[in-house]
């Protein structure tokens, strides 16, 4: 079982979360050429090591987060909100994050 520290809810079992995918993918502008979309939609580095990936805390606060995780050991190095507005809102919040 992975234990993921949600920036809002604290550390929870990964079964509360839903796996998104490779967070290093940057989607191009709508009018970008087909090659750019091919790259974003289909081509993956598939890293054996530390990668960035998105998860959603589906059965919790429903926040999308970016997790830095080692795909060989499953060790989690960092977690942050995927949405910058949420990240800064949380940073300003008076309550310290509940790291249970």
């Amino acid at each position: 079982m992975l234990r993921i520290p949600c920036p809002f809810c604290g550390t929870r079992d990964h079964s509360e979360f839903s796996y998104g995918g490779d967070a290093s993918v940057e989607y191009p502008a709508l009018e970008a050429p087909a090659e750019a979309w091919l790259e974003a939609v289909f081509q993956r580095d598939n890293i054996d090591g530390v990668q960035l990936e998105t998860w959603q805390h589906l059965h919790g606060c429903r926040m999308w987060i970016v997790v830095e995780r080692d795909t060989r050991s499953h060790e989690i190095h960092s977690v942050r909100p995927a949405h910058e507005g949420l990240a800064s809102a949380l940073a300003q919040s008076a309550d310290p994050v509940n790291e249970s």
Partner: protein, 422 residues
């Protein structure tokens, strides 16, 4: 090498089993071969076998970082079927099933192929219509497929949960009678022995750690046992494909590595004669009984990318719930072992058997979790591709470039999300 036969079993019984030879050699690697295949799983070994058998190319090495069959070859739930619908896939898997039907004779090795029928449970009229369409399409390619109504299913498998109160009541099944199971290790050993007999060197404990290349060719493989060169090189490393691809500095691939678990229970008396599949709503579950009596089953991926060959606990609970919901009689059966393998999940759920940007490098990958059944045909067509440097029409679209041409082969219609294919 003496063929295996009833007479040899009898004779060796009289001579205290002293007359057996080892099944394959353990040769030192040569520095150069006509063809070098990386990965001594089922696909690599079958490819080497058919290179020698069908094309007379015997100066071949198969390299593996561990022992042969140490990857997914020895970790799968051994289901063999050809109920695929997309053009290309259905010809490919039906060809594979035909090869399975003669494989024990072909290899002079009992792969214990048991055509016990593959039964996919149905739970709604819409699912039945969809399945009927799929199975009718298969029949056009020469595969077999049947629809069983509820009375037939109850007669064939009386102890499924037919309760009308169950969350997903069973209304019938689609069935492929020629499908079944085989002994996975025996398939690896049979292909290894057959390839070795024809002169192929199987080099175990030989990890490829680097790829030497020019602008358009592979010139050599750096391995833990020195540099090995192949005039032609094939990659058949399943979940490790992206690693090798990076060593060759070829960039990205439409593949992600995910892990899949398998489970086996304590041995029981004969209980289940078929392979049964339960897939509705969030459930995905398949079960059969091995010849030793263990219930062999599995379900979904672990849902996140991984190169670790170990599974997580939520899936254990998930498959246990599926098991008891369709076969409540298993409620008190104990789990004996579970393990996992690293799957090469592709963007559309179909495989790659193709040429690559390097003129003498060939790729065999993207098997998702259906590569066991594929192994005979995979070896067959991959050998043909390497020998003749052009794809057979059946694998014409099993290329890396299919995505840019918009001709994805998506059996499940799940879209470009590798974890959703199976």
């Amino acid at each position: 090498m003496k063929p295996y036969s009833a007479w040899n079993v009898f004779r060796n019984g009289l001579s205290r089993q002293k007359g057996w030879e080892r099944a394959w050699r353990d040769p030192e690697p040569k520095t150069e071969y006509d063809v070098v295949i990386v990965g001594a799983g089922l696909h690599g070994l079958a490819s080497a076998y058919y290179l020698a058998k069908n094309h007379g190319i015997t100066n071949v090495a198969v390299l593996d970082k561990g022992w042969l069959g140490s990857g997914n070859a020895g970790r799968n739930t051994t289901i063999v079927r050809s109920n695929y619908m997309m053009p290309g896939n259905r010809e490919f898997y039906e060809h594979s099933l035909k090869l399975w039907e003669n494989l024990s004779h072909e290899l002079n090795y009992n792969v214990m192929f048991s055509q016990r029928a593959h039964v996919s449970l149905l739970h709604s009229p819409a699912a039945r219509d969809g399945a009927a369409r799929r199975y009718n399409t298969m029949r056009l390619t020469g595969a077999d497929g049947e629809l069983w109504d509820l009375p037939t299913l109850k007669r064939k498998i009386p102890h499924l949960n037919y309760s009308a109160d169950s969350r997903f009541p069973i209304i019938g099944a689609t069935v492929q009678p020629r499908a079944g199971t085989a002994r996975h290790d025996a398939v690896a050993w049979g292909y290894a022995r057959g390839a070795d007999q024809r002169g192929v060197d199987i080099i175990q404990n030989c990890e490829v750690t680097g790829v030497e290349r020019t602008a358009n060719q592979v010139t050599g493989l750096k391995t833990s046992r020195g540099i090995i060169r192949g005039k032609k090189v094939g990659f058949a490393v399943a979940g490790n494909t992206s690693r090798l691809w990076r060593m060759a500095e070829l960039g990205k691939l439409p593949i992600e590595s995910h892990k899949l678990q398998a489970f086996v229970s304590e041995p029981l008396k004969p209980l289940l004669d078929q392979v049964v599949v339960f897939g509705v709503g969030g459930a995905h579950f398949y079960i059969s009984q091995s010849d030793k009596g263990g219930m062999v089953f599995g379900g979904d991926l672990d849902w996140y990318k991984s190169y670790a060959q170990r599974g997580n606990l939520p899936i254990v609970q998930d498959v246990a719930e599926c098991a008891t919901s369709i076969l409540p009689c298993l409620g008190r059966v104990r789990l004996l072992r579970h393990w996992s393998g690293v799957m090469d999940m592709s963007m559309d759920g179909s495989a790659f058997l193709c040429k690559t940007p390097l003129s003498n490098l060939y790729l065999n990958a993207g098997w998702n979790y259906g590569g066991f059944k594929a192994s005979p045909a995979s070896g067959w067509y991959f050998a043909d591709l390497i020998a003749n440097d052009r794809p057979d029409p059946v694998i014409l679209n099993h290329t890396l470039s299919r995505f840019e041409r918009g001709i994805n082969i998506d059996e499940r219609g799940a879209g470009p999300d590798p974890k959703l294919h199976g």
